[in-house]
């Protein structure tokens, strides 16, 4: 099922939930909504589900405008962060509920529920109540309930955020796998970008009710079109630095106080052409500690992450986050020399915060 959202606005009185959102989702596509808390992800999802009526704009499922269609007539499956299992029903009744509402015959219900339960690995739990299940089991039940009606669209609202890290990893794979197998158009709300990056075909990044970007994960990562996207996608987040980029006989140079970073024409020409100060972005993995590099600074903090250390280096008034091998055993106070991989540098207009490298 293809979903087309055009200029969707949803307001609650004066509060903007989402504004002027345009998004076209292909049939069978897995799209993640990514954005900080309160940016309008759930609002968009519930509007798609028909719980909220759009204030403005159009939503189409296929060719059908569904703005005023009741939720029950949209054939949607939804999985909630809280699982939203009915506490008074057994697991069987929970999963069978959508079928019962569709007036599916009892024996067919029975068969389908068992089938879905087996796929989800909860076949043993059908007689229990939700209160007697662990979080992971409940999550599977919720998923089973969403799938049992063979929906045209699957909506996920942060389905994994209440699970522990390991379980999250497993479920991630399972959901992705199921979705690809069944080919159901899916929208997956999360503010965990790893989840979004690993699962989604495309990611819609939202901020304060507005769509910031809608692109494939590596596009977002490698070619962020706004400073917000650049900063939001990637962990640890991108370093930003106010610089001036100048050109002198074919050589480009980004400068900030004592820092001077030479760069190639493909990255240097647009910011130099822009004139005046610009914002440079560089990801932690693109800065290396070397014997002799472009810049020297002092280690301020070392945060061990296990496989790597996260290191905060101060260069004059500026700070950079970067990653280093644990075995190097860097210590706070140590003076280090840094090398910047300027072929990965990003540049943004400080006023509009748009990328100077990638146009929309």
């Amino acid at each position: 099922m293809e979903i087309r959202i055009d200029n969707l606005t949803k307001k609650f009185g004066d509060v903007v939930g989402v504004e002027d959102l345009t998004l076209h989702i292909d049939d069978g596509e897995f799209v993640a909504f990514l954005g900080p808390s309160g940016c309008g992800k759930t609002t968009t999802l519930l509007t798609l589900a028909g719980i909220y009526k759009p204030t403005d704009g159009l939503i189409r499922f296929g060719d059908r405008v569904v703005n005023t269609v009741q939720p029950k007539d949209r054939n949607i499956g939804m999985v909630f962060q809280s699982y939203a299992l009915y506490p008074h029903m057994t697991i069987f009744q929970n999963i069978a509920y959508p079928l019962k509402l569709k007036k599916v015959p009892k024996n067919v219900q029975n068969e389908q529920v068992r089938q879905v339960a087996n796929v989800m690995g909860i076949g043993e739990l059908l007689d229990r109540r939700p209160g007697q299940l662990s979080g992971g089991q409940q999550q599977r039940v919720a998923l089973g309930r969403a799938l049992v009606k063979e929906p045209d669209v699957l909506l996920f609202d942060e389905p994994l955020s209440n699970l522990d890290a390991r379980l999250r990893l497993t479920m991630r794979g399972e959901i992705k796998h199921l979705q690809k197998n069944l080919g159901i158009t899916s929208i997956y709300v999360t503010h965990d970008q790893v989840e979004a990056m690993t699962m989604a075909d495309r990611i819609a990044v939202m901020n304060r009710g507005h769509l910031q970007a809608f692109d494939a994960p590596d596009e977002l990562y490698d070619r962020p079109k706004t400073r917000f996207v650049a900063g939001f996608v990637g962990n640890p987040p991108m370093n930003f630095l106010d610089v001036e980029v100048s050109q002198s006989n074919g050589h480009f140079l980004a400068e900030a106080d004592s820092i001077q970073l030479p760069l190639g024409a493909d990255r240097g020409a647009p910011p130099a052409g822009h004139g005046g100060p610009v914002v440079m972005g560089i990801r932690p993995e693109d800065i290396q500690i070397v014997e002799k590099g472009d810049v020297t600074g002092e280690i301020f903090v070392v945060e061990p992450l296990g496989r790597e250390d996260l290191i905060d280096v101060r260069v004059g008034p500026h700070g950079f986050i970067l990653l280093a091998d644990t075995e190097k055993q860097h210590r706070a106070g140590e003076r280090v020399s840094l090398n910047f991989d300027m072929t990965q540098a990003q540049f943004f207009d400080p006023q509009t915060e748009r990328s100077l490298l990638w146009r929309q």
């Binding site: 519930l46 589900a49 028909g50 719980i51 009741q70 939720p71 029950k72 949607i76 499956g77 939804m78 909630f80 962060q81 809280s82 939203a84 009915y86 506490p87 008074h88 029903m89 509920y97 959508p98 509402l101 569709k102 229990r128 109540r129 209160g131 007697q132 299940l133 662990s134 089991q137 309930r145 009606k149 909506l155």
Partner: protein
């Protein structure tokens, strides 16, 4: 697991385990103590006193507050009561009144009002609920006066003024439809209690659960039927039980409206009879002992109904502990 597979315990271990069991019992009773004290002070002791009074002939004319000085007359009051030629009629009146008022108003209308007002704009909902509280907070005398002014016969009553204006016949409404008025008048008072409890219960249902039901394919009515009602079963039981008891004991409005009439106890209920026969001292000499016999039966009816309700609502299921996670 069978008993025989248990290894016999050493006596010391046995004592130890008994001691633990005892300790956990005491702990449980400790937690129940405050509620227990309330039940004892506000229910059991009064019931015991009333029970005692009901086997005495205490009246204004031999009044004493010294339990020992009261004259014991055995079951005479109960005999009088059961021999009363109208006891059966009044008993069934009472059951009729309680069940009809309860089911139509104190529960159903309360439920409908709270469902409607939680499904519309919040402020409008609040306003409508506030309206329904008015009958409760108005003094019975004023409240009944309003009804009388509405229903009085031509040319005084407002309803009849409409009838006259439209050319319809006029009625002495309360006299011709006493039960309708008794039930409606009391029902309007009873709505607010259930309404408040149901509303807060409905509003405390997680939004996700309500949304989930719609997405799963329910209409709003089906959502009420399959999700909301089952989830507010406990408040429902509470309201049904509590309101049954309060309806059983309320009589002031009936007294003011029909005084149990017209005719031979058409709308007389148990508590009002207790008042008429025993506790009113309009003509002097209240019969405390005889009145207590009425009260004892009222308590018994209340307890029986409460037990029936608990069966119907499967109370044991409501308080069942979750079974221990096996996986």
């Amino acid at each position: 697991m069978t008993v025989s597979s248990d290894k016999p315990k050493s006596s010391a271990a046995l004592i130890q385990s008994r001691r633990n069991a005892l300790r956990s019992y005491l702990g449980a009773y400790g937690f129940m103590a405050p509620a227990g004290v309330l039940v004892i002070v506000f229910f059991l002791i009064p019931v015991a006193i009333v029970l005692y009074l009901s086997v005495t002939n205490l009246a204004s004319s031999n009044f004493t507050s010294d339990l020992a000085k009261m004259e014991f007359i055995g079951l005479k009051n109960y005999r009088t009561l059961f021999n009363d030629q109208f006891a059966r009629k009044i008993f069934f009146n009472t059951i009729f009144y309680v069940l009809v008022t309860l089911s139509l108003f104190n529960v159903s209308l309360a439920l409908i009002v709270s469902l409607l007002t939680t499904h519309i704009d919040r402020r409008a909902g609040f306003f409508f609920r506030a309206l329904w509280i008015l009958p409760r907070i108005t003094s019975p005398v004023v409240y009944i006066l309003i009804w009388k002014r509405m229903s009085a016969e031509a040319p005084f009553g407002i309803l009849n003024q409409f009838n006259e204006f439209l050319g319809y016949p006029t009625y002495n409404y309360v006299a011709t439809n006493p039960w309708v008025f008794v039930v409606v008048v009391n029902g309007f008072i009873g709505v607010s209690f259930g309404m408040i409890i149901f509303t807060s219960a409905i509003e405390s249902i997680p939004k996700d659960l309500l949304n989930a039901s719609l997405v799963d394919g329910s209409s709003r009515l089906q959502r009420i039927r399959y999700v909301i009602l089952p989830l507010i079963r406990w408040p429902l039981l509470f309201v049904v039980t509590y309101q049954t008891l309060s309806l059983l004991t309320s009589f002031v409005e009936i007294q003011l409206l029909t005084d149990g009439g017209p005719g031979l106890y058409r709308t007389e209920v148990w508590s009002l009879t207790a008042y008429h026969r025993a506790l009113s001292n309009y003509f002097g000499n209240a019969q405390w002992g005889y009145g207590s016999a009425f009260a004892v039966l009222l308590v018994m009816i209340g307890v029986v109904l409460a037990v029936i309700y608990m069966r119907v609502f499967r109370f044991d299921e409501l308080i069942a502990e979750p079974r221990v996670e096996a996986l």
